[in-house]
């Protein structure tokens, strides 16, 4: 038992070492670009840190931008465990924004219940949108990357159409739905002065759910079996098709919840989307950083939430373009991904050696 505990700790240390190193390298590379931009790196990073964790309000704001990323990271990670690359998180997120804004406005329900119903509506919308991808993949063999990207655009313009023709608030110059009812709003004020809302708890619960579902239920077992070895799953009588659809649907549920908490906790309405917001695409990076594990996803989301939150402040205070932060993000993702590739190659080499030995 002590041996087992030790190996567990060792594995955990090994798992976090590289992302932490990658963050340092990322900041280092960022420094270079800050210098090129002609600013003082110390000043810039100070401003970044202050905006991220310099005050209770800053921490609250950081957690606010972390919340949707936890969901979208979970969405990507869960699909990936079934061997699927869900690039459609963005579109699932959009339809959920709309669904929760509409249920939040048109329904009249008691507090809490209304919020829960609107949350469920968003989740369900994302789920259905993703299930389309699953069905097309399972029954028509359309690759999920292709059809989920296409569904992203359909979602973007479909919600735009609904907004412009049916649900736009008349008399308002900005194109947006009316504000949702007070009863549908998620409680805020967890940290005074920040927009942090109870959606963060829903996100943490969702992470717990994904972990439990994948590793503790027979359905999760089957999804992982399909993801790791479709041949073995088929042999064992596990329906590959059914699990692809199911995994996509639950992945979409996560994306949908991301949209729902944004509407119900932050924006309170659906406003005109000029393009993709990027939470879905960031979810891919978050899942990668988190190694497709719910706990890792929480930390990955925290990093991306913090960097996203701090970038604006850095631009304002130190005159460093926001884009430097994107370079930092990109570098971190690059090194984490590079590590996976390196590990894969090394494992192959070790295997080859053992084989020839």
């Amino acid at each position: 038992m002590p041996d087992k505990a030790k190996s567990w700790v060792k594995e955990a240390v090994e798992t976090v070492t590289v992302p932490i190193l990658a963050i340092f390298v990322g900041l280092l590379v960022g420094t270079v670009f800050i210098l090129i931009a002609g600013a003082d790196p110390m000043e810039a990073y100070k401003a970044l840190f202050k905006a991220v964790a310099g005050s209770p309000r800053a921490i609250g704001e950081t957690l606010t931008s972390t919340t949707p990323l936890i969901f979208t990271g979970l969405a990507v990670a869960l699909a990936f465990r079934c061997g699927l690359f869900n690039i459609g998180v963005e579109g699932q997120y959009l339809v959920a924004l709309m669904a929760s804004a509409l249920t939040g406005y048109y329904l009249h329900l008691p507090p809490v219940i209304h919020a829960l119903v609107a949350l469920a509506a968003g989740g369900l919308a994302g789920m259905l949108w993703a299930a389309i991808v699953g069905v097309l993949k399972a029954y028509r063999g359309v690759h999920e990357v292709i059809n989920s990207i296409m569904l992203n655009y359909i979602a973007l313009y479909f919600t735009h159409y609904l907004l412009m023709y049916y649900f736009r608030e008349p008399g308002n110059r900005a194109a947006a739905t009316p504000f949702i009812q007070e009863t549908a709003k998620l409680t805020k004020g967890l940290i005074p002065g920040s927009r942090l809302h109870t959606g963060i708890f829903v996100a943490l619960l969702a992470a717990l759910f994904v972990w439990f579902f994948l590793w503790k239920t027979p359905q999760g077992y089957e999804i992982r079996a399909v993801g790791l070895s479709p041949g073995a799953a088929e042999y064992a009588g596990i329906s590959v098709k059914r699990n692809i659809i199911l995994a996509m649907a639950i992945s979409g549920l996560m994306s949908g919840l991301a949209g729902a908490v944004q509407t119900l906790g932050v924006s309170y309405k659906f406003y005109e989307q000029m393009g993709f917001i990027g939470y879905g695409f960031d979810g891919i990076a978050v899942a990668l950083l988190g190694r497709n594990h719910p706990v890792g996803v929480i930390f990955g989301a925290l990093l991306f939430g913090a960097l996203g939150q701090g970038s604006g402040a850095m631009q304002a205070a130190a005159g460093v373009p926001k884009t430097v932060v994107w370079i930092v993000q990109g570098t971190v993702v690059f090194f984490v991904a590079a590590e996976s590739i390196w590990k894969f190659l090394r494992r192959r080499r070790v295997k080859a050696e053992v084989k020839t030995a």
Binding site: A225, A232, A236
Partner: protein
């Protein structure tokens, strides 16, 4: 001619070669015998310059040498034919042979090259068409190309790594002839193998390696398979499974007029009918690709039959899915243990419930304790090593992976066990163990359907033998009347001949 002294090679904590001494005499065929993972190939890779030894010296023709790369080995006159051929499929035979050592001159003189290759191939009796594309010739011929490649580079010592693994019995015979003619013309040959019969059939002397250590070097004359097996494994092994007469009972599996097509839509199983009774082992033999795979896939629900019926205990399984068929009482040891039989990234505890995972959940939650208990039961009953349920399947050796699969399928207690190539690539110890368990299942009143490409396996285990050729069952022979030659004729399509 060649003398290796105290060769040691470590990979991390694994000692692949532990102070091995080896002496090769000029003009001999020397076999290097050992189980998978014993360290034979590592030793030869050191000799060929692919690995640097941690300790030890190499003497070549009386001179101490250091071989730092394959090109240095080739320059010395050492050539190697790897188990997996290293040929360019779209190049011709001649192009492959001269690749990297083209005749001098700015313009490639292909006519000259072809002529050289032809001469070489005639000189050594290695018949092969220099102008044929490598992808269009048989595996046996590809092997000759590899040998010619080494000879073209002036090899005096040829190392052949598991040369018979991919050959049919007839091709093995031919390889033996080729080796004799090479030796007659002054070449020296080392063959790496784990097959006992071939050592006795092909080699003059044999060096046995076990777990990285040299055990003995012997003249093959006067040796028996049993003695070599004992040296190789380190204990007496039963090459022949002890097996009493069968007591066939009621019909468990009945296949009626089954037809199925392969991936390309061509008929692969044609009007196949047979039965398997409780308490007997029925073996299906045949050359690879004669419909055995498709037949098994139909039986196990992985492929849809075009017509015909499959009955298990009288119940029609023809249109059931793999899960339903498993539930109806069929156990399946699949042909491809890594792609089908196991989820390599799953732990042993997870793998032992593969196919019955729903039965190991209570209140919707996987019962880890029961899964681990089952894993431990299988580990104990089937001697899986290391005995650690939390180990991932991919960290087990091939033999132990197979034991997990066999253990899982037998422990589920099915009425019919379909075992496909159950011992492919395994070492003698594991083969013996799995064969014994299959016979035990028979004796416990189960029906066993064995599908194998290894005639030895079919002959030693089966009570009845079916021969498959071009999708049809062309012969049914009681095991006690079957001979290797007779079955071989049927397998080659020699219909009408007596088995």
């Amino acid at each position: 001619m060649l003398k290796l002294t105290g060769i040691t090679k470590r990979f991390g904590s694994l000692v692949a070669n532990d102070h091995i001494d080896l002496e090769i005499r000029e003009g001999e065929i020397h076999a290097l015998l050992g189980e998978n993972g014993a360290g034979k190939t590592t030793l030869m890779n050191i000799l060929y310059g692919l690995y640097a030894p941690d300790e030890g010296t190499i003497e070549w023709k009386g001179q101490p040498v250091q071989i730092r790369s394959p090109s240095e080995a080739i320059a010395l006159g050492i050539g190697m034919v790897h188990q997996h051929f290293k040929l360019v499929p779209v190049f011709t035979v001649a192009e492959n042979i001269i690749l990297g050592k083209e005749p001098p001159g700015f313009k490639l003189n292909m006519r000259q090259a072809i002529e050289n290759v032809r001469k070489l191939s005639e000189q050594y009796g290695l018949v092969v068409d220099p102008e044929a594309k490598v992808e269009s010739i048989s595996v046996g011929q590809q092997q000759r190309v590899e040998i010619l490649k080494a000879l073209y580079r002036g090899a005096e010592l040829l190392i052949l790594d598991e040369p018979t693994a991919v050959l049919t019995p007839q091709e093995v015979e031919e390889l033996g002839q080729i080796m004799k003619s090479l030796v007659a013309q002054g070449k020296t040959i080392i063959i790496i193998t784990h097959k006992l019969k071939e050592v006795l059939q092909l080699a003059d002397r044999v060096t046995v390696i076990r777990r990285g250590k040299k055990i003995a070097t012997l003249d093959t004359a006067g040796q028996t398979e049993d003695e070599l097996a004992a040296l190789m494994v380190g204990r007496r092994v039963m090459l022949q499974v002890p097996k009493g007469p069968a007591n066939p009972g009621r019909v468990i599996l009945e296949v009626q007029e089954l037809n199925a097509v392969n991936q390309r839509g061509l008929p692969a199983v044609r009007d196949v009918s047979f039965t398997v009774r409780a308490g007997e082992i029925v073996g299906i033999c045949g050359v690879d690709g004669n419909g055995q795979t498709e037949l098994v896939e139909c039986l196990t629900g992985l492929r849809r039959a075009k017509s015909g019926r499959i009955l298990l205990n009288g119940k029609d399984l023809t249109h059931m899915n793999p899960g339903q068929i498993r539930a109806a009482g069929l156990g399946h040891i699949p042909e491809d243990r890594q792609r089908r039989g196991l989820v390599l990234d799953f732990t042993m505890s997870e793998n032992v419930v593969l196919g019955s995972q729903r039965q190991y959940a209570s209140w919707g939650v996987m019962n880890m304790r029961r899964m681990t208990a089952l894993a431990q039961e299988i580990i104990k009953a089937f001697d899986v090593r290391p005995p650690e349920p939390s180990y991932r399947a991919q960290s087990l050796s091939g033999g132990n992976q197979q034991k997990v699969i066999v253990g899982r399928e037998i422990t589920r207690n099915p009425d019919l066990l379909v075992a496909v190539q159950p011992t492919r690539g395994l070492d003698v110890g594991a083969i013996e163990f799995i064969h014994r368990r299959l016979v035990e299942e028979r004796d416990a009143g189960k029906a066993v359907l064995l599908v194998s490409l290894e005639l030895d396996e079919i002959l030693s285990l089966s009570d009845r033998i079916l021969v498959m050729y071009k999708g049809q069952i062309v012969a049914e022979v009681p095991a006690h009347e079957a001979t290797e030659e007779g079955l071989g004729l049927w397998m080659a399509g020699g219909g009408g001949a007596r088995a």
